[in-house]
Amino acid sequence: MNELQFLTWVRGPGLDIAVGIFLLGVLWRLFEIYSLGRRKDLSAPRHVSGASGLHTVFRRSIPPPGMLKRSPVSYIGGYLFHIGLAIVVFLFAPHILLIKNLTGLSWPGLPSQFIDLAAVVTMAAMLVVLVDRINKPVKRFLSTFEDWFTWGVTFLPILTGWMAVQHLLLPYTTMLALHILSVEILLIVLPFTKLFHAFTLFGSRWYNGKVNGHKGVPV
């Protein structure tokens, strides 16, 4: 298999398999999680302002007082890499073209130089967050294989995509194929690991906020 055949495979059958497993996994888990249901709460709700599902969805996006100072790496690094990732994934012209082809939806992109900068910032932030996880004994103790693995499968698509655009290490064709392959691995892994938070994040925040709001505690 030469590199053009490799590229054609990842663009064709590879993508088909990855998107298939991704959709299967996402729907499976969403149905399973949201159909669990909750026990009926018989106590009378306490109304306290600021205690509700919607409040929690927003509140949890902002560091609680004092926390930014205590762990700046987690907050700033986390923010940078999530926002950077969103910019690179959703505002790079070829990515928009793919989404348009798959879903029919499209929107304007950003100049590729800006995307390049965003990719570098994202990778730097991810590396800092990783070093922090290794250096802080508590974080290291709490980390399992899944944490290291999901970091890797998230980092690889950005790295390979950036290297393809910059023509580093391997010919563009091979790097592009590796980039698409790494995204396919991410797609397959996403529904079955903690990366599924991309789908459940706001739902679970809402749920926690609602339960606690019922008890009169804004969280």
């Binding site: 030469n2 663009r11 064709g12 298939g20 159909s35 012209a93 073209l97 992109g109 100049p111």
Partner: protein
């Protein structure tokens, strides 16, 4: 300067200055040091007309057209004329047994020294019966001619990588020259057709230095196939700005914006079209408004369609809908199982009374 080549050039009205300029350009195109231009001029001027045997196999003669016709009034065409082309079915006057004899004579007289040019792929199925010349299969003729040659030049994508005949489902079992011949130096000059100056560049290099130029992993001269079309494309700034032509006749197309969305394969195609251009530097495919087809890359016919952007799926997603339904079914199934479990737990729940505790 003396020698057969320079004499003929003079006869055809080419001045020394023009010839030197041409050699200097050729040298710089191949990224050789400035002194190489002079060395090239000397070597080519006094060249002893190396014997060249050109074997056509499963091909369309487009490569021959490209080399001999489109550039005939230029130096490329003349220099090409000046090699001793001892066998070329399209160009030679001889036919039948005479032609075969010419080939055998050239092979015998120049044993170990002649250059073998091949265009077209070699069919292997049915013992090579799909393409025969003078009652002999292509693979047979190639093996015989390769034995005494100094080097082989695989002209065009068919000889280099199999090309169109090898396209899925490859009915004739077509292969490239390098699939058949393993013990000779082979230069691949892919392209459908290849750029004439690449051919003369390789020839000039061979005459000057007595060796083949530096090749990449696919056997292509690095000087011409070192960079992608995309990297050298004059439309590249539009790609970086995100300005794309959406159809072949929209405002973007008229403004000369990037053809990526129209399926241009420039980013994955290594060739020199963007720098050398075609038809004596007049234009080239992207300049004329059509995206690159990727014709100098192996198996470009089966690379997901000419008009599909590289970032698009090569095939429609077939299993996606079925997978989504299956996923939903698994989820619903599990939710029923979970509910049943909860129900069973509830039913099995035993209430503890005060009397129980006092037992």
């Amino acid at each position: 300067m003396k020698g057969p080549l320079i004499d003929t050039l003079v006869r055809q009205g080419v001045s020394r200055r023009t010839f030197m300029k041409y050699c200097a350009t050729l040298a710089s195109m191949m990224a050789l040091p400035p002194s190489a231009g002079l060395a090239m001029a000397e070597a080519m001027a006094s060249a002893r007309r190396p014997s060249v045997i050109w074997l056509p196999f499963q091909e369309c003669t487009g490569c021959t057209e490209s080399i001999t016709r489109s550039h005939s009034p230029t130096l490329e065409g003349m220099i090409f004329d000046l090699i001793s082309l001892d066998y070329q079915e399209t160009l030679m006057a001889a036919a039948g047994h005479q032609a075969e004899e010419a080939r055998h004579n050239a092979m015998k007289e120049n044993a170990g020294k002649y250059l073998l040019i091949v265009d077209g792929s070699i069919p292997l199925d049915l013992d090579g019966a799909y393409s025969c010349i003078g009652g002999r299969s292509n693979v047979d003729i190639l093996k015989e001619a390769a034995e005494g040659c100094a080097a082989i030049v695989a002209m065009g994508s068919c000889a280099s990588f199999g090309g169109i005949p090898k396209a899925n489902p490859n009915p004739t079992g077509a292969v490239s020259v390098s699939d058949v011949i393993k013990d000779k130096p082979i230069v691949n000059i892919p392209g459908c057709p290849p750029i004439p100056v690449v051919m003369t560049g390789v020839l000039a290099h061979y005459l000057t230095f007595g060796s083949l130029p530096e090749l990449d992993a696919k056997g292509r001269p690095k000087a011409f196939y070192g960079e992608t079309i995309h990297d050298r494309c004059y439309r590249r700034p539009f790609y970086d700005q995100g300005k794309f032509a959406k159809t072949f006749d929209d405002e973007g197309a008229r403004q000369g914006w990037c053809l990526f969305e129209l399926g241009c394969k420039g980013p994955v195609t290594y060739n020199a079209c963007a720098t050398t251009k075609w038809n004596g530097g007049t234009s080239w495919p992207v300049e004329s408004g059509h995206g690159c087809l990727g014709c100098s890359e192996p198996d470009f016919w089966d690379a997901g369609g000419f008009y599909k952007a590289l970032s698009m799926p090569a095939d429609p997603l077939k299993i996606a809908a079925a997978a989504a339904v299956a996923g939903a079914a698994v989820g619903v199934g599990l939710s029923f199982a979970n509910r049943a479990k909860k129900g069973a737990a509830k039913a099995a729940h035993e209430t503890t009374t005060l009397a129980d505790l006092e037992k």
